[in-house]
């Protein structure tokens, strides 16, 4: 459903952050993007959502070239993006945000269902302002709910686990699984969490601005963990067994 062809992007002063990334993301798949910090995962997500424009390469969504579209137009084409660090709004309430996301008024039951998916009780939250009175974990979960409210073709979640407690995280993993089972669109989740990796259909490893590995979970996950062991021990995996 989404094709990335030779995507590149760099900082204005010239540092290359994304170098020649090509990817094919299939319909209704749960794809987890992982890799070391600073490797370019968030930048890649922003390039897909249209928050950044690639310096070269093309993005094709369901056969349509969307490279030149801005973030509003890409959102209208069915791309949703949950920010890693959500922004706060003085005045806008949780209900306002979810209604803007879904494109119309929402009944209490729907709000309740959306917030329940991220482990929040709707009654306590729907009229709360999205201001500094909400904790980091609360605002993060509302951000995720705002993307769920869109029922988009492609939903991108940038480190959804960051700042969320264990219990809400479990609920979130269930939600991702439910969405996948329902075939309700493609999920692209940037994550380091083993539990999220373990429910992936496919895993993409991004490091140093490039795709280091991509493929079915069963193929990629074992190599990931072995690499981790290697990285921990300067002698490497083989010698470390001794």
């Amino acid at each position: 459903m989404l094709l990335l062809q030779h995507i590149a992007w760099g900082l204005p002063e010239g540092t290359e952050i994304i170098r020649d990334v090509s990817l094919d993301i299939g319909d209704n798949k749960l794809v987890v993007v992982t890799g070391p910090n600073g490797g370019g995962k968030t930048t890649l997500a922003k390039l897909i959502a249209g928050i950044e424009q690639p310096s070269s390469g093309r993005l094709i969504l369901d056969g349509e070239d969307i490279t030149a579209l801005d973030m509003t137009q890409r959102a209208q084409k069915g791309i949703a993006y949950a920010f890693q660090q959500p922004v706060r709004f003085k005045g806008l309430t949780v209900r306002d945000l979810l209604e803007l996301a879904s494109g119309g008024e929402l009944k209490e039951a729907v709000l309740c269902d959306l917030l329940g998916k991220v482990g929040l009780c709707a009654n306590e939250y729907i009229d709360r302002e999205l201001n500094a009175s909400l904790s980091g974990g609360e605002i993060k979960r509302i951000e995720i709910a705002s993307v769920l409210a869109r029922h988009a073709k492609l939903s991108i979640f940038d480190e959804p686990e960051a700042g969320i407690d264990l219990w809400s995280f479990s609920r979130l993993v269930e939600t991702f699984e439910e969405l996948r089972t329902a075939g309700a669109g493609t999920l692209l989740v940037i994550s380091h969490q083993e539990r999220i990796l373990s429910i992936a259909d496919e895993i993409v490893v991004v490091a140093d601005g490039k795709v280091r590995a991509a493929g079915p979970k069963d193929e990629i996950l074992p190599t990931l963990l072995s690499e981790e062991k290697t990285a921990r021990c300067p002698l490497g995996r083989e010698e470390a067994r001794v």
Partner: protein
């Protein structure tokens, strides 16, 4: 009552052809209708233009409407209204003001309101201002509010001025006795060459008194706003003021908050921020499918809600 007044009343208060409860409608400096109720008496002042509103002790859940309208140019309306709120009463006072001019002459309303809240009374005071009409004449509204809150009294002021008033100077002073609370929510939007100035002077005079002053404003076009507040804590008390302003186009906002504490247990805080709409906020709403302009409107209308 003329058509312009009818339109203005619908804009500044929940007028639907009539009012439910006590009311006094001021139109172009004259009384265009009045009604007292069993618990709320409204009478004319004898020494100056204006009215005296007396709310009997223990009155609960009633609303008093005292809108004022100026419907043409070349009028400088000045009115002195006094409110006496009896012990333990809990009422809502709706004091909208609309000014309208279709010619080059100035339309102006100056409302001077004095509130005397007896022990443990509670007032919700709503004030909505609007300027309308195609005339080039300046539309000015200059409200003065003086409040004296006795022990345990609570006053909530909710003021809104979102369009059409060329110049406004709002002065609010309050003096609070023990356990009295004042909370003010002010929302202002100016555009074009409009000017809006607000001044607050609150004296916390009794133990455990408190004030919470929240001002949110948007300055568009070449408009100019001033927010000057002074909170004086003379005893064990809490004072908080917060001034948030969004600039659009070439607007200017001058915020000058002052705190004066003369007691070790006076806790006074001020927060102020002036700036354009945060880029991250626009970005978030655009990723939901809104255009930049739609996102800006949503952020501003939420901010001024």
């Amino acid at each position: 009552m003329n058509n312009i007044t009818d339109t203005l009343l619908r804009l500044v208060s929940d007028f639907k052809g009539s009012f439910d409860g006590a009311f006094n409608i001021r139109e172009d400096g004259e009384c265009a209708g009045r009604q007292s109720t069993e618990h709320i008496q409204i009478e004319s002042k004898t020494d100056a233009p204006g009215i005296i509103v007396r709310v009997m002790p223990g009155t609960k859940g009633e609303t008093v409407y005292i809108p004022a309208c100026v419907t043409h140019g070349n009028l400088d309306d000045l009115v002195y209204n006094d409110f006496y709120i009896g012990e333990g009463a809990n009422v809502k006072i709706v004091a909208g003001c609309g000014v309208h001019t279709d010619d080059e002459q100035e339309a102006r309303h100056n409302g001077i309101h004095r509130f005397f809240l007896d022990k443990d009374s509670h007032v919700l005071y709503e004030e909505k201002h609007i300027g309308t009409g195609k005339g080039t004449g300046a539309k000015r509204i200059n409200p003065v509010t003086d409040a004296v809150l006795n022990e345990g009294a609570v006053m909530e002021m909710d003021t809104v001025q979102l369009s059409g008033v060329d110049s406004t100077l709002r002065k609010t002073t309050a003096k609070l006795a023990a356990r009295a609370r004042l909370s003010v929510r002010e929302r202002i939007m100016t555009d074009g060459q409009e000017q809006a100035k607000t001044e607050f002077d609150v004296v916390l005079d009794g133990d455990d008194s408190g004030v919470d002053l929240i001002s949110r404003s948007v300055a568009r076009g070449n408009s100019y706003q001033e927010f000057h507040s002074a909170i004086k804590g003379k005893t064990r008390c809490t004072g908080h003021s917060e001034c948030d302003a969004i600039l659009v186009d070439h607007g200017t906002v001058n915020a000058l908050p002052a705190l004066e504490a003369s007691h070790v247990d006076a806790e006074l805080i001020h927060e102020a921020a002036i700036g354009k709409i945060a880029g991250e906020q626009l970005m978030k709403l655009r990723t939901l499918g809104l255009t930049e302009q739609e996102a800006e409107e949503k952020i501003i209308s939420g901010f001024l809600k």
